[in-house]
Symmetry: C2
DNA sequence: TCCATATAATACCTTTTGGTATCATTTATA
DNA sequence: TATAAATGATACCAAAAGGTATTATATGGA
């Protein structure tokens, strides 16, 4: 089982973190810029960012005294790959349904 | 923002629950059958199942004194839709990169 | 009817999580 | 060189989550 996927999913299971990602989809931001969009202390936001980083949903790049946060495709990819495993399930289920319908039609 | 997606993501952010889903992808099961696959009390497993149900990743159907648990496509769909929003981001980024390369080539 | 089985519900405990407050560190700039 | 700005790190607190134990309820079968 993909251990990263658990961390990515966990990171996404919070409305604040989802909002942060939506902001970063518009443009890269420092933590300070992100904080301006929330009624929360810097330390609080920082913790969320850390979880997003652990889940590989964002990357941080040092630039002088600032840290630029950007979306990271890795986390998104690991999630989609995990979900893809279940696509097979739905395909099989639809196939089974199709066979059943065929059998009914032949009666 | 899709409120369901938060619950679905939260439900998936736990290794036990991911394993339960993998079991249900093989075949529908009662809670008792699921419990047999874990070193955990029935009540513990039950709590996980409840979260999976809230996240619309499984459905429960009463059948006599048993409850049959099956995968539910709704939760998976809401997650993929949420992720899809970010696909646009990657597309844009790749487009921007392509333009940049073109500009460089013209120099 | 009586009993075993499958489940639900609740109370309780420990750990993790979401958040604040506070202090230390690095870097840009007057 | 001071000083302000941007950040990192830590201690602390309340609430939520993960788990057990226990009790109660419904259903199938001898």
């Amino acid at each position: 089982m993909d251990a990263l996927a658990v961390k990515s999913f966990k990171a996404l299971g919070d409305p604040t973190r989802q909002q942060i990602l939506a902001l970063l989809a518009e443009q890269d931001m420092t933590i300070g810029q992100v904080v301006d969009h929330f009624d929360m202390t810097r330390a609080g936001v920082k913790k969320h960012m850390k979880l997003l980083e652990v889940g590989q949903l964002i990357t941080v790049k040092a630039e002088g005294r600032e840290r630029i946060n950007s979306l990271n495709r890795e986390g998104f990819k690991s999630i989609m790959q995990w979900i893809a495993y279940f696509d097979q399930f739905w395909d099989d289920k639809l196939d089974a349904l199709a066979s059943l319908v065929e059998q009914e039609e032949q009666k």
